[in-house]
Symmetry: C2
Subunit: 341 residues, 2 copies
């Protein structure tokens, strides 16, 4: 039985072996990825992002626990968690994170947790994450959480991998002008104020609602003014109903609000399917992945063609300020000798 077959059969050891092979960029890993790809496309990919200290990891643990042990009338689902840390190119923080989590979900065969620290480049991180998502998807995990730290471009890139994106906040981050939030809000399908037992939760919730209102000025105020009715606002361009990101409060350490959050995740999936946006997201997601891989490959192939000494020569001219960075690029790609402009 080859590796792909074992992974498709749900063997955890084979899965772990494949994850390592793919992370180490081996030929066997790549070949197995290719074999598995036709079996992907079934999982619900849920991105979870937020600043450090918002309690994202505890929340994801609680969500995973809830999916594994739902109330009686619901079906239990298998869960994979990919914890991506784009900010830690130096230390082994990710591994420490794993240990802490394991205590909650240890021994459950329906849960798989994998951490990834940053590697060389951001593009590399995004495409490595995409590969891990494919493996878990092919292996039959039904919900895949992609958890990222922070709120930078890295998170935006990784959020593009997900069908549903949850942005986690916590009370007490101050009320300074935070243009960062305006940006991150626009990728949020669901907003969570975690640590809702702390002081300041009302003002954080209000701030988030205000920002949402800035983003959806008319629709959001209509929704609020008749919040008891079912609202079916339409998107101007497509005519499909509009998704208005709910703002939910949780206390992850107690499990408070987790069932409401799970309901919102299911609602969002239903919304995507009903409006045809699921297919659109799949296409964007795969296009994004293709473009990342193309970029990496173009650079790697070019690197393989160039003499190291030629590169050093051009770099020397640049450092001596005989040529500018743009001229250096022209010299390297067009092969004119360094020093000319």
């Amino acid at each position: 039985m080859n590796l792909a077959t074992s992974v498709l059969a749900g063997e955890r050891l084979a899965l772990a072996r494949l994850l390592s092979k793919v992370e180490n960029n081996t030929q066997e890993g790549l070949a197995t990825l290719n074999e598995l790809f036709p079996h992907t496309g079934r999982a619900h990919l849920v991105g979870v992002t937020g600043a450090p200290g918002t309690g994202k990891s505890s929340l994801v643990n609680q969500l995973a626990y809830f999916f594994r042990h739902p109330p009686e009338e619901q079906t239990s689902r298998t869960v994979a968690i990919i914890a991506v840390d784009p900010s830690s190119p130096f230390t082994g923080g990710a591994i420490l994170g794993d240990r802490v989590r394991m205590q909650d979900l240890a021994g459950d065969q329906g849960v798989f947790i994998r951490s990834m620290a940053a590697r060389g480049s951001l593009g590399g991180l995004a495409s490595a994450t995409a590969s891990l998502v494919q493996i878990f998807d092919a292996a039959g995990y039904e919900i895949i959480f992609i958890e990222t730290v922070g709120a930078g471009q890295a998170e935006v890139d990784i959020a593009r991998l997900a069908h549903s994106t949850i942005v986690v906040e916590a009370p007490g981050l101050g009320d300074e002008i935070q243009s960062i939030k305006a940006g991150i809000l626009e990728i949020a399908d669901i907003l969570v104020v975690n640590k809702a037992d702390r002081p300041g939760v009302e003002s954080t919730e209000r701030a988030l609602r205000n920002m949402l209102q800035l983003g959806h000025p008319i629709t959001y105020s209509q929704k609020q003014s008749r919040s008891s009715e079912k609202v079916d606002l339409l998107q101007p361009q497509t005519g499909s109903p509009l998704w208005i990101p709910p703002v939910l409060c949780t206390v992850a350490t107690q499990g408070d609000g987790v069932s409401e959050l799970v309901k919102a995740i299911f609602d969002h999936r239903q919304y995507l399917h009903d409006t045809g946006q699921w297919e659109q997201k799949e296409r964007n997601r795969l296009k994004n992945e293709l473009d990342n891989l193309l970029r990496e490959n173009l650079v790697a192939r070019w690197r393989a063609t160039i003499q190291k000494s030629d590169y050093q020569h051009v770099l020397d001219s640049l450092v001596a300020r005989r040529i500018s960075p743009h001229q250096a690029v022209v010299n390297l790609l067009d092969g004119s000798s360094p020093g000319q402009s």
Copy 2:
């Protein structure tokens, strides 16, 4: 008089015009950048990074004000501020930020402030920032602050542009396991606990010192045990004295601690010059910039060679899961027909 000459002569209008031309990627902008490059290499580039809510912008404003109006015995210096917001690809937050800052430093001809929101890709952001740095450097600005939001890979990339990197924290961000901090600490030359009039400042300061001690286990404890003496610890590899990042407390809104921070910035510059690391940083900085530009150019050149319909055909096969992402890349780069593996 051409644009480059006007910029070198210190004309603000010409400078503003060039910044726009470069941001819009015009040919004239590029040509002027090439002309200006030999005049760069004099400015001290200071990166300032930290999570939202730490008061980075106020701190940078205060630093700029101090450099403009130093105590009597010191020389005043010209200051440029580039505020980079990698997290805001969507909204005009950066512009709002500008307005707020202008009130502090308005009318001073020795200060120039420019905000940049994210554009297409992170690589694009880093190289656009690098171009802005070159322009300000050539125009004679002595201190150039590169201020970034957050603590992700984007910030690490942009910190690579700087000679000295200041990481700003604030009390009360919680004491959860924050592997993110361990990462960001390793790029810090100077650590600042801003908002030091708030409760919790001692524990934040202690946490930072503990993390530093994890990073420099032996050296740091030696330094602490004889903190009254001048310490000259040596780097294991190069034999130069070791720089131990100081931890400083500030209240930016009051200006408290700003003069000590300015002193630390000067000390770090002196240290870089004394140990030959300034030249090393310049080389790494320019190599990094060259590699970013190479990546962008390789992708742009390849894009120009490919038929849009061929790309769409491969993407369609990918979305239908007839080929995997890696197979799609091989098809596009090697020209075999989609569907083959």
